[in-house]
């Protein structure tokens, strides 16, 4: 499974949204109905799934699905 698919699946599972809603432009808070704690929980899921540490400062910038995928692809390359 590529990073994009894994991330999409985690978002669907964690936020309880439909897979079609998880577009690259979708904002976790504005479009996918996440609250601030959901975003922290999501970051924790990414860390566990990909076995990396995401610094708090970096995490604050990961506001959309696309930004999260781009960040993870960069970290894991």
């Amino acid at each position: 499974m590529d990073i994009k698919t894994k991330v999409t699946n985690l978002i669907v599972e964690e936020l309880g949204v439909e897979i079609g809603e998880v577009t690259l432009e979708a904002s976790f808070i504005e479009d996918l109905g996440a609250d601030s704690l959901d975003t922290v929980e999501l970051i924790m899921k990414f860390e566990e799934e990909f076995d990396i540490d995401i610094a708090d400062d970096d995490a604050e910038g990961l506001t959309t699905v696309g930004k999260a995928i781009e960040y993870l692809e960069k970290q894991l390359s």
């Binding site: 609250d35 601030s36 922290v40 929980e41 924790m44």
Partner: protein
């Protein structure tokens, strides 16, 4: 260190002030809503100390109940440890004031400052004084009146706290007792000391008119950053004591964690893969009473006959410092 004796919990007690502040009451004070508070924290109401009530007053009431439950006399107590960050005064210790209220003297009494992990720190210290034979009946109290150092203009933090006290008597166990402390683990990560802090009033930033005006004597917290640390540090503290004693989550009867936020408790439970029926939660009634949450939840669960004699209970907390710790006991 060789263990001469085992420690056990011989009695518990709790006290909360009469005044209740509900989420709807808070809607009138700050821009918030019952629904917002419930979904993000699991809290419905909290108790508030009266103007003339200080930490030692709450601690005293909880202590009387714990002494009664332990079937001891107050003069049997030979050490007092109070866990608090909102004591009666910056000094002397609230433990000494409590000692005076109980009409006792001539034994050690001191406070522990470990934020919300304070009661776990106190229990760990008490365990060692019992095990090495120095003390026989130690009174430990987790007590806070955080609502008096709350920034009531900050809607992110002012909804979170409540006041209360939980007292516990830790005694030397008899040879035939099945009740005993099994293990305990403490830790701290000072690199994050500034995420949860009362900025002014100490030697770093003494009290001035400006510090009062700018609300620097109140609780400052970066909740989102603490969330991750809380789940991970409590998981680690639990994992260490379980592994060290060749146990897993199936072998424990109850999990009591610090009641800071329902979402943190749920995230930890999920990570530990523990049956949610084993997780004790009372955050909806009392909110976050800091060092008092665990001894209050323990007392309530024992009095409700949820936790029974012989049950294995795992407790875990995290707090300002950032401190963390766990305690594994058989009740």
């Amino acid at each position: 260190m060789s263990i001469k004796y085992y420690a056990k919990i011989s009695g518990t007690g709790m006290y909360v002030p009469d005044k209740i502040l509900t989420n709807s009451d808070l809607e009138k004070i700050v821009d918030t809503s019952d629904e917002w508070i419930k979904t993000r924290t699991g809290m419905s109401e909290r108790h508030l100390a009266a103007d003339d009530q200080a930490a030692s007053d709450l601690a005293y009431e909880a202590t009387l109940k714990a002494i009664k439950a332990a079937h001891i006399r107050s003069k049997d107590i030979d050490m007092i440890i109070v866990a608090t960050i909102s004591g009666d005064h910056p000094f002397p210790s609230t433990a000494c004031i409590l000692q005076q209220k109980l009409g006792l003297k001539d034994f050690p009494a001191f406070d522990v400052s470990a934020g919300c992990t304070g009661w776990i720190y106190a229990a760990n210290i008490a365990k060692q004084y019992i095990e090495n034979g120095v003390a026989k009946n130690i009174l430990i109290v987790g007590v806070e009146i955080l609502t008096k150092i709350t920034n009531w203009k900050d809607r992110g933090t002012c909804v979170l706290f409540g006041d209360g006290a939980g007292a516990t008597i830790i005694s030397r166990a008899e040879e035939k007792d099945i009740s005993r402390f099994i293990d305990s683990e403490l830790s701290a990560d000072g690199t994050h000391y500034d995420l949860l802090i009362q900025n002014a009033g100490g030697s770093r930033m003494p009290a001035t008119k400006e510090t009062v005006k700018e609300n620097l004597h109140t609780v400052y917290m970066e909740g989102n950053k603490i969330f991750k640390n809380a789940v991970r540090s409590m998981y680690s503290a639990c994992d260490i004591v379980l592994k060290r004693n060749h146990l897993d989550v199936h072998s424990i009867d109850w999990l009591i964690t610090h009641q800071a936020n329902l979402r943190i408790i749920q995230a930890l439970g999920k990570k530990m893969k523990i049956d949610e029926k084993k997780v004790i939660i009372n955050i909806e009634k009392y909110a976050n009473t800091s060092s008092a949450t665990i001894p209050m939840a323990l007392d309530e669960a024992i009095r409700n006959k949820k936790i029974r004699h012989g049950d294995i209970v795992l407790m875990a907390s995290f707090g300002a410092g950032l401190t963390s710790g766990s305690l594994l006991i058989r009740i």
